[in-house]
Symmetry: C2
Subunit: 412 residues, 2 copies
């Protein structure tokens, strides 16, 4: 790793680069059902009280509570989903189903099982108070209430909740456009499994790192393209230029090593970077590099999947969040697990760990094979634990990305 | 809820139903890159040692260690990705880049910076041992080594790891086929946001619950269809029959309530169920119902998103896992957080919670609005905490599904 020279701490490189990258400020109003995964532009406030009228909480009869107890003539039916066009007069009731709005002239619901039905009249024996057995006006949201903050990435659940109170459009930023270029003359994009196995056994490498990184991209990103090119400066340069034009950010996978075919350096240096960091203080992934060309970041990630994943979470995602204006990202399967041994590191680490429950505590034990070349060590891992450099004492909770679903120790 | 009668404990209903449902046993060999999300049929063992030959761990010169120290003539170049066709004779070396296989006649790599180059010869000053600076044969995997167990859902990372050692095909089960039917005469599938808002304010409901449930389906499931039908027994029945024919399992969303329009009951009862549970001991989601028609389960989920999510995780996912033969599911954003107050419940609960760090412990505090009708309470929640019935004491870690990304308290 001598060729890399001094490695820059990740926070230092990010601190220098973050102020230089452009943010996506274009906002547009879109239907709520198309906003899932997008970033909210501004704080979202409820435009009205919802429900806008009393709403039946039970199947039963809408009545004027002032006339209870008493006898009512059933003059209308208001199933959920219909608007109560009728206005009830004195001594009149309407049959309503759960969720239906109450007609004017009524303010309470007598549950079906609490009435005595005689032909088209019902007998209500008890006194009801106004609003009884109904969802109140504004019970779900009040006009002006802040529902979601600017920078929230809208989830499927958010969309459901907003649509439920008739918020059918929201202002979101356009998706961030990100391109991926995988470089390596050894890379193959396989077609036939038998032929691919033969080639790998003879020295080729199936392109997987770029594919893994693409699978990690958050929903507020749209992929502009994924080029796979050989280690050739001209081919790589033209792929970079082409993708950079249509992208807000670029990831260059491979070609970042200290090998003679160190292409990230040539690509970045040849494009007049405003900032440039070659090699970061992190392991795996020391060759992770970072440049800003114009106002667009180009991140160089290792060609090894495990190192590239480390680079993605340490460097790429903070950049994407900044550029996309994300304040509250969507969930990721990160847990906190107690580190199973003291770890003293000169670099930020990502350790492959086995996870085990001990009582009601989850523990993370680093597995033996931590070399970045040994991708198969992922198969034996339950998670990827992120540690900052310095001493992390045994028992410290460390942020750990689950590689598989975690079984609950206490679940039968 | 009187109409529901006795509610069955979830474990009891599942215990009765699980043995009756068919499992998907059809296995097929597919390219590894197409197996992501599928379930492995049988234990996967490495078919060979990998690497199959020594592999350079540095850029440098492949030599016969027995001849070190000494002078070598550089007779070949083996960049990574090419097969070393040459056999080195005595006193010969080959230039190799990181990851390249060593040619026959060599067993060690002298790093580039450790040699003195004189024209086409190099001078190696130190003694090298066999295998030095090379990845050993079988270092990543050994022939016969068990890599993944039957029932593992293959992730993008698994695929990368397998392809790295030339395992280019795997035996997986076919995807489980699942259909969704949303029922409700109040439901609209919106087109224009303005019109949709008007309709919701007048009593309609945008179909979102089925959409939310679809978004939860794991990758080993393929959706056969999502029908949205009114509360009409004939229309619903024909949608159910049509989808059931092409599906292994069905979810019926809405129509499970104790209302007069209780359609799940009619649908299930009319199809000669081998098992049938109407109403489960869980909240929200008491109307969650479960029937087995032939060997196919039909799960009735509430029309309220929050209740349906509860039903999905308590009832549907265990069923899907059983049917698909899943032993190790893919990760979900579940964490364990300490419950912020004593909760004593007669039913299995799913609570909307706010999550807060206190020191290095994550705590879950139930929010106030827990009514199933108040979908907007999701907007104020950080997570959904799953509690079993009985007493859960303050401080007990509870399994909690993250609604948004969790910020690490200790992250700068």
């Amino acid at each position: 790793m001598k060729v890399l020279g001094r490695l820059t701490p990740v926070w230092e490189a990010l601190g220098a680069v973050l102020p230089l990258v452009k943010t996506v400020d274009d906002c547009e109003e879109v239907p709520t059902w198309k906003a899932v995964g997008a970033v909210l532009c501004e704080d979202l406030e409820a435009p009205w009280d919802f429900p806008p009228r009393l709403r039946a909480a039970y199947d039963g009869y809408a009545v004027d509570s002032a006339s209870t107890p008493g006898t009512f003539r059933v003059v209308a039916r208001v199933p959920v989903g219909t608007f109560p066009e009728v206005t009830l007069g004195k001594g009149e009731a309407a049959y309503v189903t759960t969720g239906a709005y109450l007609p004017d002239g009524s303010d309470a619901v007598v549950p079906q099982e609490a009435v005595e039905v005689r032909g088209d009249t019902i007998v209500v024996k008890e006194k009801y108070t106004p609003g009884k057995n109904a969802d109140q006006i504004g019970e779900y949201v009040r006009s002006g209430e802040r529902l979601l903050g600017a920078g929230t990435v809208i989830t499927e659940l958010d969309a459901a909740a907003l649509l439920d109170v008739a918020i059918t459009k929201v202002k979101v930023r356009r998706r961030l456009r990100v391109g991926v270029v995988s470089t390596g003359s050894e890379l193959i994009v396989p077609g036939d499994p038998h032929e691919a196995a033969r080639e790998v056994l003879r020295g080729k490498v199936v392109e997987t790192t770029g594919t893994v990184i693409r699978s990690l991209l958050p929903p507020y990103v749209s992929l502009t393209g994924h080029a796979v090119v050989p280690d050739d400066y001209v081919e790589l340069g033209s792929a970079v230029d082409r993708l950079l034009e249509s992208s807000d950010a670029l990831m260059l996978v491979g070609g970042t090593g200290p090998s003679e075919v160190d292409l990230f350096h040539e690509v970045a240096a040849g494009r007049g970077p405003r900032a440039y960091f070659r090699g970061l203080l992190m392991r795996p992934g020391r060759p992770t590099s970072l440049a800003v060309v114009g106002d667009k970041p180009i991140v160089g990630l290792s060609g090894h999947p495990v190192s590239a994943i480390h680079g993605y979470f340490r460097v790429v995602e903070p950049l994407l969040e900044r550029m996309a204006g994300v304040a509250r990202p969507p969930p990721r399967p990160f847990v906190h697990a107690r580190l199973g041994s003291d770890v003293d590191a000169q670099m930020d680490l990502m350790l492959r760990v086995a996870l085990r429950w001990e009582g009601d505590e989850l523990w993370a034990f680093p597995i033996k094979k931590q070399q970045s070349t040994v991708t198969t060590s992922l198969l034996m891992s339950d998670g990827l634990a992120f540690l900052e450099r310095g001493l992390t004492a045994r028992g410290t909770p460390v942020r750990t990305l689950l590689v598989r679903g975690l079984r609950d120790s206490r679940r039968p």
